[in-house]
Structure formats: C-alpha cells, structure tokens
C-alpha cells in the first residue's frame, strides 16, 4: 500500500487546481443532470391540442363537402333530376352569391381533367339535399369536409376533389346534434372538451388551415377535426365516426404523447356512448317484462300477460283441454321473461367488459422524473467514471512522471490503485449527492437509497475500468477526453438509458449485454423504482464488479505493453 495515500492526495490536488478538469469531471455532470431533470420534471402536463369542430350548425354559414368521385357525370345527372330547375353559373363567385342570397339551397361543382369546373345550383328540400350527399358519399373514393370556402375551392382546383357540394349549414343533415352522457348534454365541442380535459389542453380553431399553421409552428401537438354529423353517428352507432387527426411526426415522442392522449379520451367517449346505449336497451328489455313506455310506445309487460293467462286458466277450470293450451302460453311467457333477464345481465357485462386497476411495483404511481433519475445517475457515472479513469492515468504521461514514479519504492498497484480509489470516490460522491438532491429537493421516489449507493459504487468501479483502457491509447489529457467522449457517446444510446432495451433489435440487445452501463441502469432502476432487494440485483452487481476487474486488468496490461 506504500504510496497510495501520497498519490491519492496528489491526484486530488491536480483535479481541484485544474479548472478544466474541475468543470468536466465535477460540475458538468450536475449541469447535465439539472438540464435533463428539468426537462422531465413536468412531463405530465396536458398535451396542447387544436380542435376544429365541423359538427356545428351556424345560421348563414355554408357547409362545404368535397369528394373524388368515380363518375362525376352520374352525380351531375342525378342532381339535375332532383331539381325543379338547375341554375348554371359562370364560376364559383356567382354560384356562392346565389347560395348566400337564398336563390338556391345547394350548389354543386364538378371538374373533369383540365376543363374548367362546372358550377350549378338548385333549390332542394332538406331530404333532397340529404339524398344528394348520400349519393355523393356512395360514389366517393375520398371524402372531405371543409370549414372554409377557400379550402374547398383549392381542393377542387388542385384536383384533390372532382366534386364539391355546398349547402347552408342549417340544411346539412344531422349537423349540430347533442348527446346525453354521464348526466349531461353535450354537443361535439363540449363533448371533446369534457372528456379530454384531464390529458389535453384544447384550443378551438375556426378552420383546419389555421390549426395546421399552429401545429407547424409547434404551438399545438395535434389537430382533431370533428366531422359533420359526428354526434349523430355516435348516437345512432350505425356508422363509424371517422375523426381526422393531424400530428407532427417530426418529433416522435411528442407525436406519440399526442396520439395516445387523443386515443385515450376518444375511447372514453366511445365507452360512454356504448354504455348509455346498452343501458337504454336494458331498460327497454325491462319495460318489455314489466310494461310501460317502450321507446315511445306504451306496451303491456310480459308479467302482466302471464298474470292474465293465469286468470284465464283459473276461469277455464272445467275445460282442461283449453287449460293445457293456456299453460303453453304461460310457460312461453316464463321462458321469455327469463331469457330477457339473462340478456339484460349479458348486455350490462358487454358494456363494461374491462376495468383497469393500475398499480406500480414500487407501491405508488411513479412520475416521469422518478423514472428518469436512475438513468441520469447511470449516465453521470459513465461520464465521470470514464473521463476520470482515463485522465488521471494519462496525466502521468503528459507530465512525464510515469518513468520517474517507476523508479520509486511505491507499491506494485499503488499507481493504478490510488487512481481507481480516487476516481471511485469522486464518482461515488457525485452520484450520491445527485441521489440525495433528487430525493430531498425534488421529491424523487426511491425505494432503497442505501442499496442504490452500493450499486453506484459497483457501477463507478466498472466505468472507471473503461477509462483505464482508454488511457492506454492516449498520451495527453486532451486526447483522453476526446477518446472518452467518442466511446461514451454511443454507449449512452446502446444501454437502455435513452431507448428501452426491450424495444431494440435482438442484436442490439446482445451488444448492450456487453456494456457495464446496461447492468448499472437495470440494477439502479430495480432498487430505486421496483423495490428490488440485494438478492434481486446480486447478478448485476457481480457483473459490474467482474467488468471492473476485467477492464482494470486489461487497462494495466495495455499501459505496460505501450511503455515497453
């Protein structure tokens, strides 16, 4: 052990008297942890979403519908057939003016190849407008609803649509309906606002283009377009309500958050509607048994019918042959009542087949900041450990002292041992301070801090070993720093610190198994977030120590070989 203390003190002085080393080894990891920690501190905030509600009937407003139809000629012919009189216009402006003036109730434009669009109008009834739109839908290869005239006309002009239909919103079928859900009445907007309020921050836009502009500029993370008749489709459940959602996938994490949030609350709306429907059907079935108002019709219940049959049977005491016939009716009534009760139970079960009761293995629900701390500490161990190990060894070469030290009476392992001890102390102290700060100041959860410190010590040991190997390939501190960064940077992405290991391809998982940091992250996450015990992480601790010993030996051999 001769010389360990003197070398330890010497190296510590070299670090604290060198501003660059002080910054790189001591201050920088805290800075990085602070920045990343701050980024994850408030990750649970609602996702900003833009909402464009087309399912709203505003008097005086025009509803525009566009489609790429297989046969525009057939659509035009049927439009003409429904109308008493068809007006033809010189262009879009004339057609819109006619619609706005109330001269016609619907206008249609058809475009064939490069020819100018044909604009026509007719005074159709609501039923005829409905039939025209159904007709268009049946022919449509694509179907688009527009909030503004400009968007609709642009789609026709650039060939996205071959047919446009415009009608007054008050004439548009099934627009602006409301739905009764969880004791309240909602239109399309309020329905989305109510069910999305926990996970999203919704801002309403007048048109899709406005919303898309804000999406491009990053003010919102997604745009939901509620189509015309959205609520009607929910109420009737006879047609799928297609809800266009636009997300910005240039940032996959943001896009994933937005999509998950939207799917979540739309699913809740769907479940609520199905539950309502089911309850209504169950109530109806109950009316069939007990009697009463069955969806607007007063019905005699099966129980009453059965009672009547019993009365009839008693009245036919002297006609056993007729009593037998009545018995068949009573038996049938019993069977139907029984089947209806079973069906009601079945339907209730169908409406609510799954109910999640989520709990965490940590014993409490964890936040993003809880989950990110083990990875942050592991990254800090990697950074400081590798750099500290490499720099402390290379300093001897840079100062020309390795030869001189070799002539002294210091112990056989004093040089490497003292550096290992100092580097471990630095990395351990740094990580321990980070852990204490995270827990005490930022309220981060950890289930076993003492065991986490043990894992930190083992992880420090193995990462310093990487640094000692790097030192064999550098002769100056600057070179050691560059090599350390070159080695550490890819490791960050290959060990599950950034991307979940289980989501990586198999070969990447095998590579990750050859990197000590992988085991450090596993063990730290285990003891901090999953309540794992010493026995649970013994394998990872063993691997970390084995890596440390192996890398230390390799580093020493490489340094010795280079010296020779």
């Amino acid at each position: 052990m001769r010389g360990w203390k003197a070398l330890f003190v010497k190296d510590w002085r070299l670090i604290i008297r060198n501003r660059l080393l002080l910054a790189v080894l001591i201050i920088y990891p805290f800075l990085i942890m602070g920045i990343i920690g701050a980024a994850f501190y408030d990750v649970g905030r609602p996702v900003p979403i833009g909402l464009v509600n087309l399912d709203r009937a505003d008097a005086g407003e025009t509803a525009w519908v566009g489609a790429q139809a297989a046969s525009t000629a057939g659509l035009e012919r049927r439009f003409r057939r429904r109308a008493v009189q068809v007006e033809e216009y010189g262009g879009e402006a004339e057609a819109v003016a006619s619609l706005n003036a109330g001269e016609v109730s619907a206008i249609m434009a058809t475009a064939v190849l490069d020819e100018p669009a044909l604009w026509m109008g007719a005074d159709l009834s609501r039923d005829e407008i409905s039939a025209t739109l159904l007709d268009l839908k049946s022919e449509a290869e694509t179907w688009s609803e527009y909030a503004t005239r400009e968007e609709a006309v642009a789609a026709l002009e650039n060939g996205e649509d071959s047919v446009l239909v415009a009608v007054g919103e008050e004439d548009y079928p099934y627009i602006g309906e409301t739905i009764w859900l969880e004791g309240e009445n909602y239109d399309a907007s309020s329905l989305v606002l109510r069910f999305g309020q926990d996970v999203t921050e919704i801002e309403e836009y007048g048109s899709e283009s406005e919303a898309r502009d804000d999406l491009k500029q990053g003010r919102i993370d997604a745009v939901i377009v509620l189509p015309r008749g959205f609520v009607h489709k929910l109420k009737t459940l006879d047609e799928i309500a297609q809800v266009p959602v636009v997300i910005d996938q240039s940032n996959l994490v943001k896009a994933e958050f937005a999509e998950t949030s939207i799917r979540g609350f739309l699913s809740r709306i769907k479940e609520g509607v199905v539950e309502n429907k089911t309850e209504a059907v169950v109530a109806g079935l109950h009316i069939l048994v007990t009697g009463g108002d069955f969806f607007g019709t007063e019905v005699v219940g099966l129980e009453q019918i059965r009672e009547n049959l019993e009365t009839l049977k008693r009245a036919l005491q002297d006609r056993p042959d007729l009593q037998e016939t009545v018995d068949v009716g009573i038996e049938l009534a019993d069977t139907v009542i029984s089947d209806i009760e079973e069906a009601a139970v079945y339907l209730r079960g169908t409406a609510l087949p799954i109910d999640l009761e989520i709990s965490s293995v940590a014993g409490k629900r964890l936040s993003a900041k809880d989950a990110v701390v083990p990875s942050l500490i592991a990254l800090s161990i990697l950074w400081t450990g590798v750099l500290c190990g490499a720099i402390l060894m290379v300093i001897e070469d840079e100062e020309g002292m390795r030869i001189r030290l070799g002539l002294t009476e210091m112990g056989a392992f004093a040089l490497v041992g003292s550096k290992l001890l100092l580097a471990t102390a630095v990395v351990f102290a740094q990580s321990a301070v980070m852990l204490v700060l995270a827990v005490a100041v930022f309220g981060v959860f950890t289930s076993n801090a003492a065991l986490a410190l043990l894992v930190i010590a083992a992880a420090s040991f193995s990462c310093i070993g990487i640094g000692l190997v790097i030192a064999a390939f550098a002769r100056q501190v600057a070179g050691a720093v560059i090599l350390s960064v070159l080695v550490s940077f890819p490791l960050i992405f290959m060990t599950g610190a950034v991307f979940p290991l289980s989501q990586m391809p198999t070969f990447m998982q095998w590579i990750a198994r050859a990197i000590p940091l992988t085991y450090a992250i596993e063990a730290l996450s285990g003891v901090m977030l999953r309540g794992e015990t010493l026995a649970d992480v013994a394998w990872q601790l063993g691997v970390l120590i084995a890596f440390g010993v192996g890398l230390l030996t390799l580093g020493s051999l490489l340094v010795r070989r280079r010296s020779a």
């Binding site: 070299l14 020309g400 030869i403 001189r404 002294t408 009476e409 210091m410 004093a414």
Partner: protein, 303 residues
C-alpha cells in the same frame, strides 16, 4: 560502480544498441556523446528499467543486477531529457511526493527537501506551482527531484537540451557541484564543450555502437595533435625541414598553407617564428577540440 556488458537492444529487428560495453566508476562523471538516434536514450531506458535489453547485462559493484530490483533503483536517480514534474503541484509538493514514494521518513524529509530546494536555487519559489517556472527553473527542479533519495549514481539524459545559455550554465554548475560532492554521474549530451569540461571520462556512441572511450584528452588525441597553419611570403622548405627536425615536429603543405603538427606546439611556437623570420605573412594556431573528434568519428561512421 556500474558496468554494462555487451548490451544490445533491437526494436522490430532494428538494432538500437549493438554490443555496448562500458563502466562508470564510483565518483566518476561519465559522458556519453552521440548524434540523435545513436541509442543514448535507449541505453538510459535500459539502465533505469523502463525496457529490457535484447542481450547483455548490467553489473552493480561487480554483481549482475536487474534494474527493476529495489536494491538497484534506490541507488540510482534519473533526470529525464524533458523536465518531469507535476505542473500543478508546488516545487515543495513535488519533492515531498517523491520523498513519500521513496519511503523517506517523514521526520527526515522536510530538512532534506529544504536543503535540496536551496541547492537548486528554488527556495524562494518553493510554494509556487511548477508550471509557472522558467524552463531553467523547471530543469533544476527536475534535477532536484532525481536527488530526493540521495542516489549514488545519477542518470542525466541530455539535461541542458532546450535551455538558454544562462540556464544551461547554471545547470552545469549544479552538475559540477554534484560531481564534486562525490556522486557518480552518467550523462548523455550534445554539448561537447561542456562534456569536455565536466566529464572525467567519455564515450562516443554512433549508430548503437560504442566508437571510442577514454578521457577527453585521450579522445582528442586520437584525432591528432594541435596544429599551426602558416602562410609564407616565399618558399622556406629547407628551413621548415630543419626546424621540425630539431623540435620533433612534422610539416606538410596543403595548397599555399603550411601545416605544422606535433606535441607541445604552444611552447615551440616562438622558435618556429624566429626560425622563419621575415617570411611569415600570417600564423594561425588551432587546438583540437572534442567536437573535432566527434565530427571525425561521425564522418568515419558515415563513410
């Protein structure tokens, strides 16, 4: 004190040293001179245990010794070519560290370190970080660090390389004082003049082979004696024959220049001049230097 027997070293089949045999006696200042790449630093590296020789061995006081052995390492000190110290430690901290690593008693070391700092002229700068020292001060600190454990034999690898004349002079004074205190010194250098002045014995290493070994005078003698170069107004061949015969000298003509060589030339100059009275246009006396000898060996090695 230390002998090197038939020492050879090859790097990937290239001979850096080839059968070098020499010895350094106790209290002797031994100089090894040679051009760049001659193998001087390789020899020092072998002698300080940094690399092993391919062949040959080292004897300490007549006994074979492994340079890695503690008994050897404690008796030798090293001053590398480039100053070696921790720049962010003070001069005193550098010396204290080495004292600790050499296992010098904590009670003894403060006095030893203070006297070393004074010896090297660094006592006023003892608490300054060494990186702020001038190059000369850094080399003096490096020299002091090689002496912390009071070695009997000190290896100095081109210690004045890169120093300005004043710093070089100061360092040579220190080396002379060290020699005067009875230490054995093995020094490699390019500076022939100072090697001539300081070293009691010299060896010339060229291409890994030891060419000559001896006192500076012996080595210079190998080149030949001092000489007088004359330009005469007329041909005095007969007089030159007579004078040289009488004084035990020899003469030859190189173009218009007459060259007289022989021993104790400075004492015989008055007789030569009076013998050629009236005919001497100019006279130039030239003493043979170590550099002349070195350059001659270099030419021979090259040719």
């Amino acid at each position: 004190m230390i002998s090197i027997k038939d020492l050879s070293k090859e790097f990937d089949g290239v001979k850096a040293l080839d059968g070098v045999t020499l010895s350094v006696e106790k209290g002797e200042t031994f100089g090894l001179i040679g051009p760049n790449g001659a193998g001087k630093t390789t020899l020092i590296r072998i002698l300080t245990g940094q690399i092993a020789p391919t062949r040959g061995g080292i004897l300490l006081d007549g006994e074979p010794v492994d340079p890695l052995e503690s008994s050897y390492r404690l008796r030798v000190g090293l001053v590398p070519q480039e100053p070696a110290f921790y720049g962010r430690l003070t001069a005193r901290e550098n010396l204290v560290l080495l004292a600790r690593l050499y296992g010098i008693d904590k009670v003894d070391s403060p006095g030893r370190i203070t006297s070393l700092l004074a010896w090297a002229g660094l006592e006023e700068h003892a608490e300054r970080q060494a990186r702020f020292f001038s190059r000369g001060m850094q080399q003096r600190l490096s020299l002091a660090m090689g002496l912390v454990h009071q070695p009997e034999l000190i290896y100095l690898d081109e210690p004045t390389s890169g120093l300005d004349p004043e710093a070089r002079s100061t360092l040579w004074e220190l080396i002379l004082r060290l020699a005067g205190e009875g230490s054995s010194i093995f020094i490699t250098t390019h500076n022939m003049e100072e090697a001539d002045r300081v070293c009691s014995r010299l060896a010339i290493l060229v291409g890994g082979t030891l060419r000559e070994e001896g006192t500076p005078g012996e080595i210079k003698g190998l080149l030949g004696a001092d000489r007088v170069e004359l330009r005469l107004l007329q041909d005095r061949s007969a007089d030159l024959d007579a004078i040289c015969h009488r004084l035990g000298l020899s003469w030859r003509r190189e173009g218009e220049t007459v060259i007289i060589t022989g021993l104790e030339l400075p004492d015989k100059l008055p007789e030569i001049v009076s013998g050629l009275a009236g005919s001497v246009r100019n006279l130039h006396y030239r003493e043979v230097t170590l550099e002349d000898a070195f350059l001659r060996f270099m030419r021979e090695a090259g040719g």
